[in-house]
């Protein structure tokens, strides 16, 4: 497992968060915005393991929680879980494939959005949206858009974290 630079990790989180807050609405399509912070957490879990993925998920999640309108800690919980799960399966999947990365982001984006609904229903006991409508208008477009955006995001992160020299990336 390659060693991760924490400075790079936290700089990337700050940069991605700033992009999310100030710029990402400009590339919104039909209400869907690509979740590049989730792609970052998936990337860290995939290449640096479960511990690093969890740390990235918690940090990115709390950053998101400050600016989001939601119960404080929701994003930290969901992204932390994503980081752990991706890290746990990272040696069992073909991570050098672009398609695998896209599918992973698609799956975990959907997982995060459905987890949010489950938290709403069973933990917060607040109203949750119509399931079919939520899937059709929110989960599917956001996950598809995020998985497409994951390709350049992963390319950028592989370059920044200096992983081009890894045997499975080459």
């Amino acid at each position: 497992m390659p060693k991760m630079s924490r400075t790079l990790l936290y700089t990337s989180i700050a940069l991605f968060l700033a992009i999310h807050i100030v710029l990402i609405n400009r590339i919104e399509i039909c209400g869907a915005k690509p979740d590049i912070l989730l792609s970052l957490v998936v990337f860290i879990g995939l290449f640096f393991g479960s511990g690093a993925g969890f740390e990235a998920g918690i940090a990115a999640g709390f950053g998101k929680d400050i600016f989001a309108f939601d119960y404080f800690g929701t994003n930290a919980f969901i992204l932390g879980l994503v980081g752990i799960i991706v890290g746990a399966v990272n040696t069992k999947i073909f991570r050098e494939s672009g398609l695998t990365r896209m599918l992973l982001v698609f799956f975990f984006c959907s997982f995060g959005m459905y987890s949010r609904v489950l938290l709403s229903r069973f933990v917060f006991r607040s109203g949750s949206p119509n399931f079919a409508e939520y899937t059709l208008f929110s989960v599917f477009p956001v996950s598809a858009y995020s998985s497409l955006a994951a390709l350049p995001v992963f390319g950028y992160l592989i370059h920044v974290f200096g992983l081009k020299e890894l045997p499975d990336i080459v």
């Binding site: 912070l37 511990g51 950053g63 919980f77 752990i84």
Partner: protein, 259 residues
């Protein structure tokens, strides 16, 4: 051994987070967020200004700006026409009623949008005005084109506005043409849905939707948007309409907070 310890540590942290969330749902830990947001509002404003500066140095910017200003002017005039139409309708209806008390006019505080909700399951914006500028919680926020949302969290120098397109937003609305009432709720695709429209009511695409003025948050007769389709969910006793908001909420740059 060390690996086992770290797995235990992570599991404990995840469970602690879940417990924190459960407690948080009873007594929201919003103050942490409001304080953090306040502390970050200055760098956020700086970042927003930097983005605006970069945008400003792009080719044809002055033409685009002029175009935008003219469009805003047209929208403002259209909004005035809407207001006059609403007043005319109201006047006609009120000829029959004596002693009707007209809704009080409101004063506004202009604010700049400095950030947006980074999550995909809620729609809110962050503005650069807060308690210092007399922005208060649960006050309506509008723009030159129509309704934007309501203030949900206020710090000293910043506030969070829940947009009408957020699934948690609820606004009492009426259809301008026939005064049919309903509730407006947000939808994840950036549109809204008006529910509780009675089955026998005459509602059609193109009808304009205004705020009903029920409750204390939203004043009466603020344009919300236009109906784009009407349908009925199976097994329900009412119709619903999909509404396109009058304002493009994802491209908002300035808003007006009602005082």
């Amino acid at each position: 051994m060390r690996n086992k310890k770290s797995v235990i540590f992570r599991s404990v942290l995840v469970i602690a987070l879940l417990v924190f969330l459960a407690l948080n749902s009873r007594t929201p830990a919003n103050q942490i967020r409001v304080d953090s947001l306040d502390a970050l509002s200055s760098p956020l404003k700086l970042l927003d200004s930097a983005v605006s500066f970069v945008k400003g140095s792009m080719p044809f910017y002055s033409l685009r700006e002029e175009n935008r200003a003219l469009r805003d002017r047209i929208n403002l005039l259209n909004r005035k026409i809407e207001t006059y139409k609403a007043i005319q309708d109201e006047n006609d209806r009120l000829k029959d009623f004596l002693g009707f008390r007209k809704a009080a006019p409101y004063t506004t505080v202009p604010a700049q949008v400095i950030g947006r909700d980074p999550s995909n399951w809620s729609n809110s914006i962050i503005i650069d005005k807060g308690l210092k500028d007399f922005v208060a919680q649960n006050k309506a926020v509008i723009s030159a084109r129509g309704l934007v949302g309501r203030v949900v969290e206020v710090g000293k120098n910043s506030a969070k506005v829940l947009l009408v397109t957020d699934p948690n937003s609820r606004v009492g609305v009426i259809i301008q043409r026939n005064r049919q009432g309903g509730i407006l709720i947000g939808r994840a695709d950036g549109k809204c849905k008006m529910i509780y429209i009675s089955l026998d009511s005459d509602v059609a695409p193109g009808d304009r939707v205004l705020t009903a003025g029920l409750g204390t948050v939203f004043p009466k007769d603020i344009l919300v948007g236009e109906i784009i389709s009407v349908d009925k969910e199976p097994g329900r006793l009412y119709k619903y309409a999909v509404i396109k908001t009058a304002e493009e909420l994802m491209k908002l740059e300035e808003v007006l907070c009602l005082r």
